[in-house]
Amino acid sequence: MSGHSNYEPKTGFERWLDTRLPIVRLAYDSVIDFPTPKNLNYWWTFGGILAVCLGIQIVTGIVLAMHYVPHVDHAFNSVERIMRDVNYGWLVRYMHSNGASMFFIAVYIHMFRGLYYGSYKAPREVLWILGCVIYLLMMATAFMGYVLPWGQMSFHGAVVITNLFGALPLVGESITTWLWGGFAVDNPTLNRFFSLHFLLPFMIAGVVILHIWALHVPGNGNPTGVNVKSKEDTVPFHPYYTVKDGFAISVFLLMFAVFVFFQPNALGDAVNYVPANPLVTPAHIVPEWYFLPFYAILRAVPDKLAGVLLMFGAIAMLFVLPWLDTSKVRSMRYRPTAKLYFGIFVLACLVLGYCGGRLPDDHVIGNLSTFQLLDADLNSMVWLSRVAAAYYFAYFLVVLPILGLTETPLPQPESISAPVLPANAPAGAAASPEKRG
């Protein structure tokens, strides 16, 4: 996609087609000949893994839509019918429900990869923002998909999430009524969620195309963060990265299969196998694991509007990140101090996820009794969430802006090839292993 093309049509038909619709040229330039840095590690395989995840979700989702009934009286039973009566329905549904979790595992690794290696920095800001858009769409899709089985968690999750918008001043109530199509989450809500849950994956696929387009303009980043300087720094995408991605996808699918076939409900909540009852909320209501960090941020704030704003703000941080990080050094491989703060950031995200899955008043340390600080016991999930949430925001708003100006980075290599070259060796030889077969 970036300018020069090495494609040469080999057959008469390809020449004929190339002058009319150069689709073979596009595929050749994008996935065969595309020059890719030769030092990509396995953290770079998650883009391909995510493409596979999206494909699996769309295919299994279309199958499920053939059997699912989006009506409050039939939704739960139609899902059980898929599990019991539809041929291989159990397999297709477990692929879809676990596929959502696999999708989020992969996307979180992909995002942390980007954070660590500075993938959001110039000239890849638009690429990064498109990724954030995909992530937002994924969250909306996953949330609405979780509502469809119409179990207790589905229903009350939908109630809680739609009520978030009720926190907005003035327009809040009108917006929730509009979202519901009534005075509460009910059949109209289920119908529209089904419709949108079907639509959004195709919007994701569209933004993925833009994401890849934006990727192919500057080309891939790489673990050193140093720009590609010459042809010696790259190898063609095929076979080097088709095979590497293919291997990573195979390993990922093995893990996926372990969940589907041996632990299909490990990542879900048993309460969602109880049919929705608008009159009783389950004692312990939690979102799916991939939303827990944001749920913890929401609960950490003792004010409805502020909680909602902070929760959305946590995602907004990602969108403006390219302009918050002041460091000119892309890869944290050469930023030892930033690496430390990044490690704490990952820990903070995990802690937030842990807190989100527990009750707010649960003790962090077993039987230790401490004192009341403001509105809650110091030894509670609420305070742990507050500490972790504070660090989450501080990482974006304080650490990255200031650290880029104050830290002393390690010297960066002159080129991608330089770090692996033995001293005094001629550059051309070791720098092009592909020529040695």
């Binding site: 199958v63 059997h67 019918r81 019991r84 539809v86 041929n87 291989y88 051309g428 020529k435 040695r436």
Partner: protein, 184 residues
């Protein structure tokens, strides 16, 4: 040193082996991938076949006392109409008389009902042409007439005129008692 490195570049086929070990890995990996996709394709095809609950509802029982002589009752069986016709003596006689007529799909009336139960004619009510539901008592032969493309069936449900190729189909059924049948 650079010269030795360049010179060490082995042609994949230089060893004389053909196919060599690298070809074997390529072929084995491709075969595994194709096999996996193929194995995964079957569940995605089979899910469109009738589900367990659909198959479980594949047979119905019917009380024949609801049908007066000369009448027909239509019930739904496997999503299709099922004709249960209580034939009069005159209709049976006409059907037997036509056993020797020039039939497109030759069958005797005897073959179209259970032994000793000539009055009960049980047929799948979809025209063998393109699946419309023929109307009772219509057509030139007093059996059924299909409004879609004009097929005429006689009082034994045999095709006599029009585009349909076959007689109206007789489903698998059995008399549970004199007044009760089980279809399917």
């Amino acid at each position: 040193m650079a010269d030795t490195v360049v010179g060490a570049n082995p042609d994949p086929h230089a060893s004389g082996e053909d196919p060599n070990r690298r070809d074997f890995i390529h072929i084995a990996a491709a075969v595994m991938a194709v096999g996996a996709v193929g194995a995964l394709a079957w569940p995605f095809i089979d899910q469109m076949n009738p589900a367990g609950d659909t198959l479980a509802l594949a047979s119905v029982e019917f009380d024949l006392t609801k049908v007066e002589a000369g009448q027909q009752v239509t019930i739904k069986w496997r999503g299709k109409p099922l004709f249960i016709r209580n034939r009069t003596g005159k209709e049976i006689a006409e059907a037997i008389k036509d056993d020797t007529a020039d039939l497109r799909d030759p069958q005797t009336d005897e073959e179209r009902h259970k032994p000793g139960k000539a009055q009960w004619l049980i047929l799948i009510g979809t025209c063998t042409h393109l699946g419309c539901v023929p109307t009772f008592g219509g057509g030139d032969y007093g059996g059924w007439f299909c409004p879609c493309h004009g097929s005429h069936y006689d009082t034994s449900g045999r095709i006599r005129k029009g585009p349909a190729p076959k007689n109206l189909a007789v489903p698998d059924y059995a008399f549970l008692s004199d007044t009760k049948v089980k279809v399917g």
